[in-house]
């Protein structure tokens, strides 16, 4: 197992280098000169040239990449020229919001998706299965902004159970904090459970036809044990992959949901960095989000090995 982890970690090095290079290139190749953005239209060419020299913008691009990479490796992702905040500070402030949203959304999606998938797989082809598969498909085609507005209308405007927008930090009021997150997390979960349900359902239907399930029934095991231990575990590889992709996507925040519910997450940080042409923040945040994505995928790979011993032993 240790060798397996070490091997996987080694694979990450070229991936991370490629990610950093792409991030840097995207930010550098954007049209517009950073020095002009900072100094404004009224700047004299001399002042611009001086700032460009100070920021190293007059150096060749490979040199700029290497010095940026060197700084990043020392933990210096740069500093916003507008607010003076470092990238790490900005991310540390916003990331907990996006992480909490992501976590609650995943819990919600899995709580809805897994039981429904199992119930449908057991009765595959039945009226219940067809109804749920159809519902999942229609839920899949409802965009997040629509379900967000409907949820706000129902739970905030009509029933007045939950706040429509706003954010209360966890350390100030844990209950209030959870109440703020319920609607946005539910919005995201509603968009995700259909995917989880569909992949798990189809894998599970296949697993239930395996000989070892007939064997488990012939052993007289309880139906709950057959479904949850014998069938769910070997059926959950795709589920884990899709959940991993969702988590990775949500680390970068969701611009739409964070904007609708006024949550100060990574998504809104990126959005404002784009609007204010704050390239240093943009570049730093994109890199950190990409690192998070790579890390999640690494964890998914490890989970495969936990779920299927054949992968652990290099058989499959």
């Amino acid at each position: 197992m240790l060798g397996f982890v070490a091997r996987r970690l080694l694979y990450l090095v070229p991936v991370l280098l490629a990610v950093s290079l792409l991030t840097f290139l995207i930010a550098s190749l954007l049209p517009g000169d950073l020095a002009y953005t900072i100094l404004g239209d009224q700047a004299t060419p001399e002042k611009v040239a001086a700032l460009r020299h100070d920021m190293g913008l007059d150096q060749p691009i490979w040199w700029r990449y290497l010095s940026w990479l060197g700084n990043v490796l020392q933990g210096d992702f740069g500093r916003s020229f507008r607010t003076g905040q470092t990238v790490l500070q900005a991310v540390a402030e916003r990331l907990p919001v996006s992480l909490e949203l992501m976590l609650l959304a995943q819990i919600g999606a899995l709580t809805i998706g897994i039981p429904l998938a199992i119930a449908c797989a057991v009765r595959s082809g039945s009226a219940f299965d067809r109804f749920m598969t159809g519902s999942a498909f229609s839920m899949l085609s409802v965009p997040a902004f629509l379900s967000a507005i409907l949820l706000i209308y129902l739970f905030a405007v009509e029933l007045r159970w939950l706040p429509a927008t706003g954010y209360i930090p966890f350390h100030e009021d844990p209950v209030g904090n959870l109440r703020c997150f319920l609607l946005p997390a539910l919005t995201l979960a509603l968009g995700e459970w259909p995917v989880l349900m569909r992949v798990l359902r189809s894998d599970m239907i296949q697993t239930l036809q395996e000989d070892y399930i007939a064997m488990a029934r012939a052993k007289g095991l309880k139906p709950s044990r057959i479904l949850l231990v014998h069938a769910l575990k070997p059926s959950s590889l795709t589920l884990v992959t899709v959940t991993g992709i969702n988590i990775g996507r949500l680390i970068g925040g969701t611009v739409i949901v964070e904007s609708i519910f006024a949550l100060p997450g990574i998504g809104r940080l990126l959005l404002s960095a784009i609007f204010t042409r704050d390239l240093i923040i943009l570049q730093g945040v994109v890199l950190i989000v990409a690192l998070g994505y790579v890390l999640i995928n690494f964890i998914v790979d490890l989970l495969y090995a936990v779920l299927d011993p054949r992968i652990r032993h290099g058989h499959a």
């Binding site: 395996e210 000989d211 070892y212 007939a214 064997m215 488990a216 029934r217 012939a218 052993k219 007289g220 095991l221 309880k222 044990r225 231990v229 014998h230 575990k233 070997p234 779920l307 299927d308 011993p309 054949r310 032993h313 058989h315």
Partner: protein
């Protein structure tokens, strides 16, 4: 048959709906087996022997329709509610499937798969169940049983996996073990070992056993009674020695002739049974074997021969042109 039967299958029929129409996989089969006895069910692929075993275990596919009675230990399994059936399966009624590569769960350890059965039926605590698992693995000839408990099926060879499957089946001292082609998926060298293991454990535990196989050679020395199946029906049934001494059904003869002989000269063509079994969705009017039978005459094509008693006790056959009676010439 001495004493009341442990299992008696009475008029069991299995119908499977297919896109081509109804498929009658098992056609009114009557069989019985007493406690501690061994019954062989023999027939070629598709003759319904596996469906019959699934019908006994009540493990048929959802769409299959089952009729008839399966009396086991005084209860009709067909009418038994799920919970009582579950308590019976694995406890008094156990099975070994054909392919040990697919019948063990690939993501659970050998130990888990063995211990869960013990804990389900015998209410053993963890330590006792583990000790018993080690004993069971040792009894079926698995070296270093303690280490095996921690291993996964893919770390074992096919023969070892089938031994594990047998250990699981034997774990709760069942009254009846159904071995469904237990050696078909294994190397020839392993086959005899597995069959001997099954025979030894069957005698030791005084357990009844049904061996399902396509190979008459497998049942020859190891069963008390043999039923030969063809196209979903039992076509001949006899105590094993009687069957080999005085078989009546041309199909049984053809099956026996199809076994390669060790003393045959090189390049002797194998007397395979020509033709194929009939399409089970298009039942024939007469004897199902008649199109392939070298003795068949006109009556065989229009009338289905009933299963009738032969002159020796316990011997039944379904044929209008039986062998080993008055001399008959090939038609």
């Amino acid at each position: 048959m001495k004493g009341p039967a442990l299992l008696s299958v009475e008029g069991v029929a299995v119908d499977l709906p297919t896109p081509r129409g109804n498929l009658r996989a098992v056609d009114h089969v009557d069989l019985s087996i007493g406690a501690g006895r061994t019954l062989g069910i023999v027939g070629e692929s598709g003759c319904g022997k596996t469906m019959l075993s699934r019908a006994i275990l009540q493990l048929l596919p959802k769409k299959a329709k089952l009729s008839g009675r399966v009396m086991f230990d005084g209860q009709d399994l067909v009418c038994l509610d799920r919970e009582r059936l579950r308590k019976l399966r694995g406890r008094s009624l156990a099975v070994v499937f054909q392919d040990p590569m697919t019948s063990l769960n690939p993501v659970l350890t050998i130990g888990t798969q063995l211990i869960e059965t013990l804990q389900e039926h015998l209410e053993l605590d963890g330590v006792a169940a583990k000790m018993r698992s080690v004993e069971l693995l040792a009894a079926v000839g698995i070296p270093a049983p303690e280490q095996r408990l921690m291993q996964y099926p893919h770390q074992l060879s096919g023969g070892m996996r089938q031994r594990v499957a047998i250990a699981i089946a034997l774990s709760c001292e069942p009254k009846l073990l159904i071995a469904d082609e237990p050696t078909t998926a294994l190397d020839v060298t392993i086959q005899a070992q597995i069959l001997d293991l099954l025979a030894r454990e069957q005698r030791r535990r005084h357990m009844a056993m049904i061996i399902i196989t396509h190979d008459l050679g497998v049942v020859a020395g190891r069963t008390d009674e043999v039923a030969v199946m063809y196209a979903g029906r039992v076509v001949e049934r006899a105590p094993t020695p009687d069957l080999f001494k005085k078989m009546r059904m041309p199909y049984t003869e053809a099956l026996l002739a199809a076994i390669p002989k060790i003393d045959a000269k090189p390049h002797t063509p194998l007397p395979a049974i020509s033709g194929r079994p009939p399409d089970p969705t298009r039942p024939l009017k007469g004897c199902s074997f008649s199109p392939r039978c070298k003795y068949a005459w006109a009556q065989c094509q229009v009338e289905k021969p009933p299963l009738e008693d032969a002159d020796s006790p316990g011997h039944q056959y379904a044929c209008f042109r039986p062998l080993n009676t008055e001399a008959i010439a090939p038609a």
